[in-house]
Symmetry: C2
Subunit: 436 residues, 2 copies
């Protein structure tokens, strides 16, 4: 088998055989197939696509490129959730303890901030002492005793993905439904999940700005799950406006604490309960999503999720005192408000602009080596549908540098659309894909 | 400017600006743009194409990547011909001296055998002593005194093409009309030609097996010439059957000697005269191709072309005694005939099979490091349209190894199609493209 012949076949639109895909991924991971051949193959895949069978095989080959976490024997269905990333998307921090409180085990391997979107690991690490680098043994222990664990991707899991992603980033081959699918799914199933709920974000604050592309990705994820013999369902949710009222690291943790104590933004809590219900259904703990919703709502309201969250923070080395008394946590030294230029109703908040503004003040990274600030962020004083008068606060920017905060404020001043008459915000959940 | 952004634009079907193409070719040639980025770009070009303007700019950027031979002051129009390669295609060896005998100067930079096709340099080097590595100074001298010269591509001319071709060869990006166009045209115009006749071969023995692809390449070559301000015309000629009766190195030289002495195969001589006439027309020495044909025929018949050829061989160090007495030249130690299984008429000879058979006996190379044999080859005893009886010779295979000759004979036995009734061979010249 020669790489060049397989490249030519993919270039000409052929479907590659399973053993051909294995050969390519193994060769690339070992270094026998050089980057320039794999780059050419990746571009051919971007432009010619892959069938569901090819995508599933690619995912499997990537999983087999490294270690697979062995979670056999952990009691309870292992179900994870993955979001394609948004602005203010802190769902995982509440969803994982809630799902665990309902009886699922959630082995969650998360990422850091990327582009204009935040990262679950960065949010967790804003809790003083919190460690996301658990050993496989401790990870398993956390699942057994707490019910969920949150870790970063280790070097030994899916090395093919790390190599492929680095190459895709510099060769214009990021935007490909099958490649994105295989990248997400390989990581999720290598970490030991049995079933997966995908939250595919669409809108200005998402990577998939376009609804049709989001739908295509959702379908690809579900079909690939089926090809791998795993239950996968996908929700397509709106990311045209930020989720909740907090964008930042510890600011989002505080909002999560509210969500677990009956004080979260209604729309956000609602989305979390919906996602938990689908996870319960995927894991077989609820016969229908509706049944799952009832259970999830109950465990959120009775404080079970909050207890599981505290147990997790304790297990992963975080300071729970800061969670019980959030005012002791990271706080910004510079705060500045953006005010409304007119009377009216908030018709929209550009999530992409809010994301970029948040990176400017240190919520995310412009370059890989940048440090994120736990205290920085944006608190939305007015969100979509709410009335506002001229001169009233639209948001408050928290940061550590007056210059950066000023710059973020200038950017945010253009992010609010104010309409003269009442506006009702559209639904977050746009569509679901539950079957291949 | 970042390479990745330009790759993305080409991937999405955009037209690259002239300075963007310059940036990419310069960066690749200098090594600043790594192979993996350029490979991804090449695949995007293969699948998304290039406009005529982009192709012309790519060609120009490639020419500017290295030295350009300075032939200013050489008297007479500098016109070259390039063939995309065929089986038995020895036209250059007669055409160059014929065109020179008519008053053109032909600065010909040729290649070696590639795949199933022979190479002009290999044919010339079957003449004992013949050197194809003339210095630029001697090359110019040959043009001034003899009228034509035949050399190989030097390292310093169009280095971008050498690097690009090596990468294309291993990344499945050879088959692209704009990339093929730029590769051919950059070499031809860097060697100093002012105008160019292209012989685009089509059929089983050509690289462009398909007539539509051959036409697309012909049009692209002519349009790119126009974009560079050079006169380029293209002939699309049939390569379903071998050209002439000889396939090999010195066997083809012998046939060329015949062509220049009134004894060549009529169809082959006819094609050479047609090509010479177009070159004369392109160079402005004939008002019309028809006028050019008259002049060319005259200079072929009166022995002028033959004299120029002998002068060239003398100049380039070859043994002219062998040309005057070809039986003193390379001769094979093993000869074996392939005979007809039935009575009838030759309806076709698979040029691809003949090409592969010729590589087996040493006419061409299976691997880059193989040596070619000057004596090896195939002489067609019966060609298309001729009658044959069962048991009569179809061809004789010349070689140096009985095993290889046997293998070639087995392959050739299946290459002749014998029809029960008379067959007339189709024309060699299928179409012409003379204007962008």
């Amino acid at each position: 088998m020669r790489a060049v012949d397989l490249i030519v076949r993919k270039r000409d639109g052929a479907e590659l055989a399973p053993e051909e895909i294995d050969f390519l991924v193994r060769g690339f991971t070992s270094g026998e197939i050089p980057d320039y051949q794999f780059a050419s193959l990746l571009m051919a895949i971007v432009l010619k696509g892959m069938t569901p069978d090819e995508t599933a095989r690619l995912t499997r080959a990537m999983i087999e490129s490294g270690e697979v976490l062995d979670l056999a024997g952990v009691p309870g269905p292992l179900v994870d959730k993955h979001s394609t990333g948004g602005v203010g998307d802190k769902v995982s921090l509440v969803l994982a303890p809630l799902a665990a409180a309902c009886g699922l085990r959630v082995p969650m391997m998360s990422g850091r901030s990327l582009g204009h979107t935040g990262g679950t690991l960065d949010k967790l690490e804003s809790i003083p002492g919190y460690r996301t680098d658990l050993s496989p043994k401790r990870f398993r222990q956390a699942l057994e005793t707490v019910g969920f664990a949150m870790i970063g991707q280790s070097e030994s899991v899916v090395p093919a993905d790390r190599r492929m992603y680095a190459l895709r980033d510099v060769t214009g081959t990021v935007e490909s439904i099958p490649l994105i699918t295989a990248s997400i799914m390989s990581k999720k199933f290598a970490e030991g999940a049995q079933a997966l709920l995908m939250d595919v974000k669409t809108g200005s604050g998402a990577f998939m700005k376009d609804r049709d592309r989001a739908r295509a990705l959702a379908r690809s994820l579900v079909a690939t799950g089926a090809g791998l013999g795993r239950r996968v369902a996908a929700m397509i949710t709106d990311m045209d406006r930020p989720l909740g009222r907090a964008v930042g690291n510890f600011l989002e943790v505080r909002e999560c604490i509210d969500c677990m104590n009956g004080a979260g933004p209604a729309e956000e809590v609602d989305l979390i309960v919906q996602q938990a219900s689908r996870m319960l259904w995927l894991g077989g703990l609820a016969a229908t999503p509706t049944e799952g919703e009832k259970l999830a709502l109950q465990r959120l309201r009775d404080g079970s999720a909050w207890k599981v969250f505290l147990a997790n923070v304790e297990f992963q080395g975080g300071n729970t005192d800061v969670l019980l008394h959030p005012d002791k946590g990271p706080a910004a030294s510079v705060k500045k408000a953006v005010t409304s230029p007119s009377d009216g109703f908030v018709a929209g908040i550009d999530a992409y602009a809010a994301g970029i503004a948040s990176v400017l003040i240190g919520v995310g990274r412009s370059r890989k080596e940048d440090r994120v600030l736990p205290s920085a962020g944006i608190l939305l004083s007015r969100t979509v549908g709410e009335a506002v008068r001229r001169g009233e606060e639209l948001c408050v920017v928290h940061g550590e540098s007056a210059g950066a905060v000023d710059e973020a404020c200038r950017l945010l001043a253009g992010a609010w659309r104010i309409a003269p008459g009442p506006v009702s915000p559209g639904p977050r959940l746009l569509e679901e894909v539950t079957r291949a």
